[in-house]
């Protein structure tokens, strides 16, 4: 009987404590961000899918087609092609395809690049019903960025 009564007393105390804490928290400022209307601030290191960096003056990709990013990638997301540079030595990039469906955003490609040709984009609201939307042509993307800049 005494156990029953003490349970009621401690139970009542727990209830009052809980209600008091809830009541106090109720009047605190709201911490939830209303996402589509409020966009969270992004950190400088944010890892979106990768994109090519263009030359400051010409807008051509910095890539020299060494293929380090392709070899560093754990999931074989990157496929690229190049042709011989007509004016001088080296190679120029002709095709750079990223299969974002397989990418795990580890950043090995960006780190392996010695020519400042790759970076993380700041795109985050990527959603689609079609798988093919995530096979990205990064050359085309760079051209569009160059056009916007102009």
């Amino acid at each position: 009987m005494s156990g029953y009564l003490s349970d009621i007393v401690t139970g009542g105390k727990s209830l009052v404590t809980g209600l008091a804490i809830t009541a106090r928290e109720f009047f605190r400022p709201v911490v939830t961000e209303q996402y589509p209307w409020e966009v969270p601030t992004m950190t400088p290191l944010f890892r979106g899918h990768i994109e090519l960096i263009g030359n400051e003056e010409t807008g051509e990709p910095n890539c020299v087609v060494c293929g380090m990013c392709q070899r560093a990638c754990p999931s074989v997301c990157i496929s690229l092609d190049g042709k011989k540079n007509e004016s001088g030595k080296g190679k120029v990039l002709t095709r750079y395809i990223l299969d974002f469906t397989k990418c795990s955003l580890c950043g090995s490609c960006v780190e392996s690049c010695n020519f400042n040709a790759l970076r993380f984009s700041r795109d985050y609201n990527l959603a689609s019903f079609d798988k093919n939307d995530f096979t990205m042509d990064l050359m085309k993307r760079l051209e569009e960025q160059n056009r916007c800049k102009r």
């Binding site: 349970d7 401690t10 139970g11 105390k13 727990s14 404590t17 809980g18 804490i21 809830t22 928290e25 911490v31 950190t43 290191l45 944010f46 890892r47 560093a72 990638c73 754990p74 795990s104 955003l105 580890c106 950043g107 090995s108 780190e111 993380f120």
Partner: protein, 372 residues
């Protein structure tokens, strides 16, 4: 018209818990042989999300396996990063700068607090309390924001590198971490202990329920808070120190009761100890580079290598076999929750179903880490 089912006293039935069940937190199936509300036999069935991580390690280079480690235990991803980095550094003989070691400890311990907070929230959700989840996630969000600033990702971090870390921490991170510790210490007594730990409903649900003996822990190889809740004073950070842990003054919380409440209390105290480690590391943080000299293509000498780290759920061992090639020859992972889950069958015998679910929650299972 419904016909009432009359079970004979010696008659049992099989109840499938999972593979899709909110209380198993993943695709775990437990085959329960029930006598009414009581469990006669419990048999965990694994393998629903086996992804061959160990095989994947053999097919890529050492660095290419790093993103995989974070996808096993997604709640304490940095500790899994750390385990893999440690064993490869041991094999290849790579030195890590002191600052990088400190940054590793700070981020791993922050991640440990985040993991315990999420466990706390999910455990209480299993027991039917929704409000604490929101308080815990509020605090966890602060940690994730801090880690996002330095690592670039929010959950499956790929932050550690052989010979250092990916990115240096800045003053804003240090100030933010100090603020967070102050905030969590301020909120801990009221929002965590007054509201939940001392609550009679929680005490009635988990105290004196789900007894695990020290002998059982040894037999099944249970580690982490499960073993420490049963009176085994074993923490890899103390017993087989790695990284710069010996330089910090922290306690290993041990409770001898062995019930679900003891495991709960171990984790609550561990958060405080992690905060102590982070504070000391921030005070002592040395300058210098965060990345040592490491060859781009790793070819460790042929041999067997083993190293273990303490994750939020117990000790994680990496057994690495190299044959002098640029891929690992064989990798065997000893993941903590696999052993912790193994004792579920024996302990759950004779328990009420509702108690067994509370007990399962107190084991803190992360299924992708059991099914690697």
């Amino acid at each position: 018209m419904t016909v009432p089912v009359h079970l004979r006293h010696d008659e049992t039935f099989v109840l499938n818990l999972g593979p899709q069940h909110p209380a198993t937190h993943g695709v775990l199936r437990v085959k329960l042989t029930m006598d009414g509300e009581y469990i006669v036999k419990a048999e965990p069935v694994l393998g629903y999300i086996h992804r061959m991580h160990e095989k994947m390690a053999e097919n890529g280079t050492f660095a290419q396996f790093m993103p995989n480690t974070a996808r096993m235990d997604y709640l304490h991803a940095l500790a899994f990063n750390h385990g893999w980095a440690l064993v490869v550094e041991k094999a290849a003989g790579i030195e890590v700068p002191e600052r990088a070691e400190y940054i590793r400890v700070i981020t791993v311990e922050l991640n440990r607090i985040a993991s315990h907070l999420l466990w706390w929230a999910a455990f209480l959700l299993d027991l039917g309390g929704f409000t604490p989840l929101l308080y815990a996630f509020d605090d966890r969000e602060k940690i994730i924001d801090l880690l996002e600033r330095v690592t670039g990702s929010r959950l499956t971090y790929c932050y550690l590198r052989f010979g250092g870390v990916y990115n240096d921490i800045d003053d804003e991170f240090v100030a933010g971490t100090r603020d967070f510790i102050k905030r969590l210490r301020g909120r801990m007594p009221r929002l965590y202990h007054d509201l939940v730990t001392h609550n009679i409903i929680l005490i009635k649900r988990i105290k004196d329920i789900g007894f695990v003996t020290a002998e059982q822990c040894r037999r099944y190889g249970a580690t982490g808070p499960v073993a420490r809740g049963s009176g085994i004073d074993y923490d890899i950070r103390k017993n087989e120190p790695y990284s710069v842990y010996p330089e910090f003054d922290f306690d290993v919380p041990v409770f001898t009761e062995g019930d679900s409440m003891a495991r709960y209390m171990v984790r609550m105290h561990e958060m405080e100890q992690s905060m102590r480690i982070i504070e000391q590391a921030l005070d002592k943080l040395p300058g210098g580079p965060v990345m040592g000299k490491a060859p781009k293509v790793l070819k460790p000498e042929a041999g067997y290598y083993y190293s273990a780290v303490e994750t939020a759920r117990g000790s994680l061992g990496h057994r690495l076999v190299c044959n002098g090639d640029k891929n690992p020859y064989k990798l065997k992972l000893r993941s903590p929750t696999f052993s912790n889950l193994s004792l579920f069958g024996e302990v759950a015998e004779g328990m009420l179903l509702a108690d067994a679910l509370a007990f399962m929650g107190s084991l803190d299972l992360v299924i992708p880490e059991i099914d690697r």
